[in-house]
Each structure stands twice: as C-alpha cells, then as structure tokens.
C-alpha cells in the first residue's frame, strides 16, 4: 500500500503526520525486484483537492510494475476509471465516492466488472468497542455505520473490500483484529486487512480474523526501531510459512 502526495511517496500515522519517504517509481522498481504480489497506490490528496487521477504517473507505474496494481485517489467518473484501467492498472480503488456518488460507483462496477472495483473503507474505533467510518476528506465520521457501509459496497457491486484501520495506521502494533472480524461477519466479499502490520507474524492474526489477504504500508517501507526508510518485502518462503501454519 503506497501513498502518493504531490507525486512523491509518503507514509502517514493515524491518517496524519505524512512523512515523505521517497520517489514512487523507485519504490515500484524495488517492489518489482522483490516480487511483491500486488501494489496499491492511493493519492491521498486528490479527492480533497478535487484533482483528477494522474494518468502520466499511472503509465509510469505500469511500465515498471511487473505485477498487478490498483490505483485510487480522485476517481470520480467512468472516463477516469477507464483511463486508469486502460493504462495498466488491474483495479481502481474507491473511498469517498462510495458515499458521495454511489450511483457512479454502480455504473463503474457494471461497466468494468466487480473484479476491477475495490472499496477502501477507513474504520475508526469509537466507544463501546464499536466502529465508525472515517472520512479523510472532511476529517469527520460518516453517518452510515460499519455494517451499513459494507452492505453499501456490496450492493454497488464492488468486488473486494480493503478495511483500513485509522487507529492502527502507521503504528506497527499489529492489525485491528476486531474490525476485521466485524467486517467478515458483514460480507462474503474478498477482504483485505490494512493498518498496523509490523511483521509476517501479524498476517496470521488477520487471516484468522477472516481476512482473505493482507496489506501493509509502513512494514514494507521502514526498517528497525528508528524507522529508517528501507523498502523490504518478505520472501515467498516466509509468506508461505505463515499461510501453512494457518492451516493447522
């Protein structure tokens, strides 16, 4: 999960304190060398600024990414979605659009297929162990609750849901397991856990909570307790050892 801002790569903590961590294309090259399974790019300022997806950036990513990738941030029209998919992305990622322009999201899933449309839902813990949906654009909580929001994604035809924990973002303390469990109960769609991973050990907890896949940002970008920028990715043996352990 790679966050873009002004064309550079950044990493947040709890959806704020964005730190510049380097050149996006250089990161793509390294993740390609390390054979990452999939990359997700989110331009975190596009929606706020009303900016369109950066097609030149997407083309540049596609020419270096020898793996599937998804792109999100400021995708609000069918034309933009088509442009992203035609220029090499496998999927588009939608967040604010799910709530603000659901009818267009529905058109996108019909036009390009569910498999090309990913919903990214930002969850935040509130009182009594409940979760609300966070709006990064307005820095407020949205009205629909977690279960209502998940069924909205389903009804609009999204093919996959990324559940991102605002509280765990950048903290490297492990995934927000209860939020994954809640989401799992609410849908049978493929579920991707995001936010808080520090090591492959954390993946197991997310899978046990019902995630179909795991994503991480800081874990793959920073190294050591001083958070030095060093792009890293587990080997397929390391990943396999976690998956196999999970089966027993």
């Amino acid at each position: 999960m790679l966050l873009l801002s002004d064309g550079g790569l950044v990493k947040s903590k709890n959806f704020q304190d964005c730190r510049y961590v380097g050149d996006a294309l250089n990161a793509v090259r390294i993740f390609s060398e390390k054979e990452a399974d999939e990359l997700v790019f989110l331009d975190i300022e596009a929606t706020r600024r009303g900016a369109s997806p950066d097609i030149e950036m997407i083309k540049a990513i596609a020419s270096e990414a020898y793996m599937p990738f998804a792109y999100g941030g400021g995708v609000r029209t069918l034309q933009q979605a088509e442009n992203i998919l035609r220029n090499g992305a496998e999927k588009i990622v939608l967040n604010d659009a799910i709530f603000s322009i659901p009818h267009i999201v529905e058109e996108m899933t019909k036009e390009f297929g569910s498999q090309a449309v990913v919903a990214c839902i930002d969850v935040k813990r509130i009182i009594f162990g409940k979760y609300a949906i966070f709006s990064y654009k307005d820095r407020t909580l949205r009205k629909p609750d977690l279960v209502t929001s998940i069924s909205l994604c389903e009804n609009l035809g999204c093919g996959e849901i990324i559940v991102q924990s605002v509280d765990h973002d950048g903290q490297r303390t492990g995934y927000d397991v209860p939020s994954i469990q809640r989401t799992r109960k609410a849908t049978s769609l493929p579920l991707v856990a995001l936010g808080g991973a520090r090591s492959v050990e954390d993946f197991r907890a997310a899978f046990q909570a019902g995630a179909d896949a795991v994503a991480a940002g800081s874990m793959f970008i920073f190294w050591g307790k001083y958070q030095a920028v060093l792009i890293n990715y587990p080997t397929s043996q390391e990943i396999r050892s976690i998956l196999h352990a999970d089966m027993h």
Binding site: K59, A62, Y66, P68, G88, Q115, A213
Partner: protein
Amino acid sequence: MIVIVDYGVGNLGSVASMLRRAGGDPVVSCDPDVISRADKLILPGVGAFDRAMNGLEERHLLPALQEVVARETPVLGICLGAQILGRKSEEGICAGLGWLDMEVKKFSSKDLRVPHMGWNTVTPAKNSLLFDAISTEEQRFYFVHSYYMQCRNEENILAISSYGKDFACAVSCGHIYGVQFHPEKSHRFGMNLFKRFLDV
C-alpha cells in the same frame, strides 16, 4: 518483428514492457500490413469474447492474422486473447478463431468466487517450449478470468492450474500458444515464459 495486436481490448503497455524486459523489441499495431509481416504475434486481451472477435473484425485484421498463421508464425494469446484461439465460448455468440480445438466454459461451481483472480500455481503437464517440466521450482502466475479453456485433445494442454477443479491454463497446437494467466503481471515467471516464447 514481434507484433502485439491492438484490437481495442486489454492492456498493451504492460505486455510491451514485459516483452522488452525479456529481451524483445515489440511493436504495437492495428495495421493489417504490419501484422502480416510479423514473425511473432502476441494477442493480448481483457474483456468479453464477442467484443474481442468484433474488435478483430472491425479493424479488418482477420485476413492478416490468417495469413500470418498460414506461414506458421508463432502466436501467443494471453487471457482473452488465448480464449479466442478456440472454436467458441459460453460467454458469447461469435465464433472464435478456431486455431485450437477447444471451447471456453464458465466457472460455475456454487461455492466458487468468480472471477478467479489472483496468484496461482501453474504445473506443467509436459515439457514444452513454454514450460520447463523438469524444474522443481514452483511457478506462480497472476490470473483474472471467469471462463476457462477446455481442450478436446489432452495433447494440447501444456500446463494445469487449479480453481475448484483442475483446468488447462496453457495450451498449444503447433505454433499456436495460449495462456490463461497474465505473464506481463507475473514477475520473473512471466518474463521467463516470454523469453521462451521469443526463442520459439
């Protein structure tokens, strides 16, 4: 000259970059004259079967393709581009190119999530120009598809993958090759497959 056929479906840029990485120098074209001069042909494709066949027809590419194939030029179809090598598909009403004796079927098991999307292991069914069956390393490729190829003749199956059941994920007949997965999105596994195709 390696020509990637541009017939309005799919992600040509990624195919071209992976081919370059594999040492090729591909040309992307929808010009029948260019296509008929190809010594290697790539048929990419993402989308619906009929749209692909109509795309070839609308661009008047079918005679050029037939000419190239009659010369025994190696052809590699990718994903939908592999499916249209067959006779027909459950996805549409158009006839396929018919260069491979196969039909395209829909994944229809009840508990199966369709499309089959993501990384999956690929097991060579035999030694072939595309796959080294002796290698013990697990080969992984990236898939996105709701339909699969069903060959009438088992001899045409080069590799198998499994999703609910085993299915042919790489097929061939003579100089015609088809792969269901996306080599252009499959790291060095895809690059190696492209290298092998370039050496055919």
